[in-house]
Subunit: 299 residues, 2 copies
């Protein structure tokens, strides 16, 4: 096991101007793992309740995702219910039922403890140490976060950020954590706080990567029909790390390509509800998307 992803596996109920889906498979871990699976065979560490359908396990395994770290616990699966406005950036959370996720304390299967790359996805920053102690040989630690931890566990978050190699944030989170409105300065400020690499996801505006001695900027893949933005950021990070894991090198060249792949896999996600866009696409589709994106941005 080379890349492991620790995050949520959930039921999502999603309302958008394009329609509504009830209790479809979601969660940051799910999106990240499906995205990474375009490039590598990730291990997914999470917890679901006994109500979680077996066909969802099959869907994930069919994409090459290892589920040895996915525990089934007595109780109900985490359920998130959200609604998007006509502007896909406007999101309202209607309900968050943590259920079995509430006491999620990830113990890694023995195999997973040799992982090279780990993604700590939206976790309580206070849980990071417990996980990292189980990963003595890890070469690359990546994390992202959510507004909730920024607002409620700011100090623990800063300590956690200090210990990772890659921090994924969206532009709003980047400004919030750095307390700095200018995104370039905010990115550099976060970089000074520890992580070698800051990846700022800007949604429809693409992404910026602050690396050691370089900055990389990339536009988003233009999308005429945003059906459901859920999970786009998680998929970005999953594809980014999946690509890096498959490349086996974390140099500037590979980091730039990783951000482009993150971008492109995120564009697959938003074109359909839930993980449908990810499940429908195969590696060939992604290569085609990469080629037309290269044309789009070339000058």
């Amino acid at each position: 096991m080379s890349l492991i992803i620790i995050g949520s596996v959930a039921f999502d109920t999603i309302e958008t101007p394009s329609g509504r889906r009830d209790r479809i498979i979601g969660g940051s871990g799910t999106y990240a793992a499906l995205a990474a699976a375009f490039f590598t065979r990730p291990g997914l560490v999470s917890v679901v309740g006994q109500d979680f359908p077996r066909r969802f396990f099959q869907q994930l395994r069919a994409r090459g995702i290892d589920l040895a770290g996915l525990k089934v616990k007595k109780g109900k699966t985490f359920h998130w219910h959200g609604r998007y406005g006509r502007d896909p950036n406007q999101r309202t959370t209607i309900k968050t039922e943590l259920n079995v996720l509430r006491e999620f304390r990830p113990v890694l299967p023995p195999d997973y403890r040799r992982a090279d790359v780990v993604f700590l996805s939206n976790l309580d920053p206070e849980s990071h140490d417990f996980i990292l102690e189980q990963l003595p040989a890890v070469k690359l630690v990546a994390m992202d976060t959510i507004r909730f931890w920024i607002e409620n566990k700011a100090e623990a978050l800063l300590r956690a950020i200090h210990k990772v190699d890659i921090l994924f944030v969206n532009d709003e989170e980047c400004r919030l954590i750095a307390r700095e409105l200018n995104l370039v300065r905010a990115g550099r400020k976060l970089q000074a706080a520890g992580p070698k690499i800051i990846v700022v996801k800007k949604g429809e505006h693409g992404a910026m990567l602050f690396g050691k001695n370089f900055v990389f900027g990339v536009v988003a893949n233009p999308c005429e029909q945003v059906v459901d933005p859920t999970g786009a950021g998680d998929a970005f990070a999953g594809a980014f790390l999946g690509y890096l894991d498959s490349a086996g090198r974390f140099n500037q060249r590979e980091l730039r390509k990783a951000a482009v792949y993150g971008n492109l896999v995120a564009s697959l996600v938003i074109e359909d509800f839930g993980v449908e866009g990810l499940l429908r696409a195969d590696q060939l589709d992604l290569i085609k998307r990469y080629q037309s994106f290269r044309k789009l941005v070339s000058f």
Copy 2:
């Protein structure tokens, strides 16, 4: 005379968190002409009052701008007074004194009537026909607009758009005119309304170009210190058209490069007050900026 620019020459009073400047030289025509002057020798058609200092004429001429079309009329020069918040996208207009610009009816000097490229910058859309009738040999007509015309002369604006080859809009204007929230669909919708090329300026997020059978996307040049955003959009358009005029070809390759140069010259503008950033830079600075931008976006 190959490129002529018709727009305002003004006094600007500007307040930003970085400071305040009183009655410095501004106006859409000024920014566009100074930006174009990196590539070509544009003619500037505008009107100022008798209060306009001669040293400003000298500054413009020193950059290779032809002022045969700049009339001095009895009265006061157009004066705009604006204030920016800590977020440079938040702009408040404190005062707009049109003065001599109120009755601006651009009669082109005989030389200018052989122009290949014309830029109609922020003009009343009802004035376009009067100008275009004086340009029988023009090969490329470009325009931009402001929210005021979108809201107050919507029909005339759509008729004007129908007659141009290139329309410059910012993302907000693009959505407003097209009545469409999705920027890609909005761009295509405007393209269907007439112009071969739609250039959407997205400020800190770069630009998108909708051409015949292609789309081009480019990020903005990252800027750590936005001092004064005034004129960035006008400079983008001026550099874009100045580059095209110097290239002498309007094909896909040149259009893409034009957008990159537009981007880079706009980044010069915002780094200092008024036209200071434009005046301080020379062609060599721009070439250097182009080279480091290429590195920034390469993958």
